[in-house]
């Protein structure tokens, strides 16, 4: 299958996140000192940080959460989404706290609602990269 949509744009400091996703591990930015979770990466706000955030690590998280808010694009703003629209683009409130933007799949625009419990699914694209998406928790 040829991928006709935009590819993830991966800055140097997000490489380990995308590597984890490719191994089907839903990793978040975690503080080894106080067990706080972040996404995207940030200094831990609870206490002083080590140089270059040495107290932080990418650690596998639950991959579960609920829909915090969402949109449903009806127009394909990129030709690759023509057959998919309308689809759900949502902000997931993860069990660990952070908000994570992604698609909710297997969910029609009538079924999507704030508070819907969801879990991560991994969409492998030609062995090249993997996209973390979410689907309703059965």
């Amino acid at each position: 299958m040829t991928w006709n949509k935009p590819r993830p744009n991966i800055p140097e400091d997000m490489k380990l996140f995308w590597a984890g996703i490719k191994e089907h591990k839903f990793v978040l930015w975690h503080c080894k000192v106080c067990d706080a979770w972040y996404w995207p990466p940030a200094c831990c706000r609870n206490h002083p940080n080590e140089p270059y955030m040495g107290n932080m690590e990418w650690k596998e998280a639950s991959g579960r959460g609920k829909v915090f808010t969402y949109t449903v694009p009806h127009w394909a703003f990129h030709p690759g989404f023509k057959d998919e629209a309308p689809y759900v683009y949502a902000l997931i409130e993860l069990r660990e706290g952070p908000l994570f933007p992604s698609n909710v799949i297997d969910c029609s625009d009538e079924d999507i609602k704030v508070g819907l419990p969801v879990e991560v699914v991994f969409e492998d694209i030609n062995g090249e990269f993997t996209l973390p998406k979410f689907k309703p928790l059965k």
Partner: protein, 425 residues
């Protein structure tokens, strides 16, 4: 080193100013009425194929200089009211308008902008150049060719603002659309928490179109809409119908900032800068989740209102940054014209349109006039305070609020900055 604190009477702001121990001035009240906007130039706006942003800036600047009764030789500093000119979302040469106009500037500051917030950051920089005695007349100019760019990407099957994508952006493989997806997330959450409806968003679009129909300069002049037109316009990104989304425009705007004493001698009536302020939503991203139902108005408003020494009831006209209809509802609530969650019903009651008690976006705003970032908002505030609004003039407008918004926090899917600017005639 510790300095003694003291108070001193300030003849311009007519207040006692506290000079703190560690800073020259502690609370910014000395800022009020010291600086003025003295010239305004706005090009034709809308669809201008073949006109580059720098040409539009040059033309807007030429108009602004003429409007102020100055010559290019008077302008000794220039600020480009533009986001990321060097390589960000709208990359292009950044020296253009000063060089092309032959301005004898000491400094040309490129790209003070943050998304749609360009004008107030420009004014902040200008007042510092004036305070320090570096410059006497600072030209602020900005332009966009967003409509022309959107037509180019359409040929590649893309729509909207896909041309704005920059490195490190998060949502593209998932089909996120700047900026409709970001603001749509806010809108949905506001609907969930407060019961705001699509018809209430539509009431914003209708009110602004009424203003636009009184403004011959507005792109949508002569094209009135009803709430039914809003409801039957296509859904672009739920919860947004087409008529919830602002225009994309080609065009340019420029104005000149100088000191109050210099402004008195010029041919146009000066518009005084009373106060300004800023807020950033990223300050509490992601842990403060209520920031999806508010904008970062609080610090921006508090700082600007304190400098200006005004209250909400002193504002005669509000020029909100309105990239989407929801932005207007959020700001009516966040500034305090109504309670949080009451913005939808407030708009439906007819407070913001022509004849309403708080006239909002009197030129038609970004939704119905044109979108040059918050240059649109500031230009309309200047027009109202000078009494040049023609059919849309708000009688007796003395104090105007102009806001700005923008600066994508791409990974949080929100626009971060909010700016408050208070002007008076």
């Amino acid at each position: 080193m510790l300095y003694e604190a003291w108070f001193e009477f300030d003849p311009i702001s007519q207040q006692n100013i506290y000079y703190g121990r560690h800073s020259v001035v502690s609370d910014g009240r000395h800022f009020k009425n010291r600086f003025c906007i003295v010239g305004l130039g706005v090009t034709k706006v809308g669809h201008l194929p073949g006109r580059t942003p720098r040409m539009l800036e040059v033309e807007a600047a030429r108009l602004a200089i003429e409007d102020a009764g100055l010559t290019p030789q008077d302008v000794d500093a220039a600020i480009q009211a533009q986001s990321d000119p060097g390589g960000g979302v709208r990359p292009r040469y950044d020296d253009a308008f000063s060089r092309m106009l032959g301005l004898p500037v000491k400094v040309h500051i490129p790209g003070v902008g943050r998304g749609g917030e360009v004008a107030t950051l420009g004014i902040l920089s200008a007042t510092q150049l004036l305070s320090l005695g570096i410059a006497k007349y600072v030209l602020i100019a900005g332009a966009r060719d967003d409509w022309s760019r959107s037509q180019k990407i359409r040929k590649e099957g893309q729509r909207g603002q896909a041309f704005l994508e920059k490195e490190g952006v998060w949502g593209r493989p998932f089909g996120a659309i700047p900026a409709a997806s970001f603001h749509g997330l806010f809108a949905t959450r506001h609907m969930y928490e407060h019961g705001t409806t699509s018809r209430q968003l539509g009431a914003v679009a209708v009110a602004e179109r009424q203003w636009a129909c009184l403004n011959p300069h507005a792109y949508m002049h002569g094209r009135p809409i009803t709430i039914e037109d809003h409801q039957s316009s296509p859904i672009v990104v739920w919860p947004f119908h087409l008529l919830d989304i602002c225009l994309q425009s080609d065009g340019g705007t420029a104005f000149i900032v100088t000191t109050a004493d210099r402004a008195k001698d010029l041919k146009t009536p000066p518009v005084y800068i009373m106060g300004l302020g800023f807020g950033e939503q990223m300050a509490d991203l992601w842990w403060e989740k209520k920031n999806y139902t508010t904008l970062s108005v609080e610090t921006a408003k508090n700082d600007a209102f304190r400098m200006a020494g005004i209250e909400l009831k002193d504002i005669d006209v509000a020029e909100f940054y309105d990239c989407f209809t929801t932005e207007v509802i959020f700001q009516l609530e966040d500034y305090g014209w109504c309670e949080k969650g009451e913005g939808g019903p407030f708009v439906e009651e007819g407070h913001i349109g022509p004849g309403g008690d708080i006239p909002v976006n009197t030129g038609g705003g970004l939704l119905s006039s044109h979108h040059l970032g918050n240059l649109t908002c500031v230009a309309e505030a200047i027009i109202q305070l000078r009494g040049e609004g023609g059919d849309r003039q708000v009688k007796g407008a003395e104090v105007a609020l102009a806001t700005g918004h923008g600066g994508e926090i791409v990974s949080g899917q929100m626009c971060s900055i909010h700016s408050t600017l208070i002007l008076r005639r």
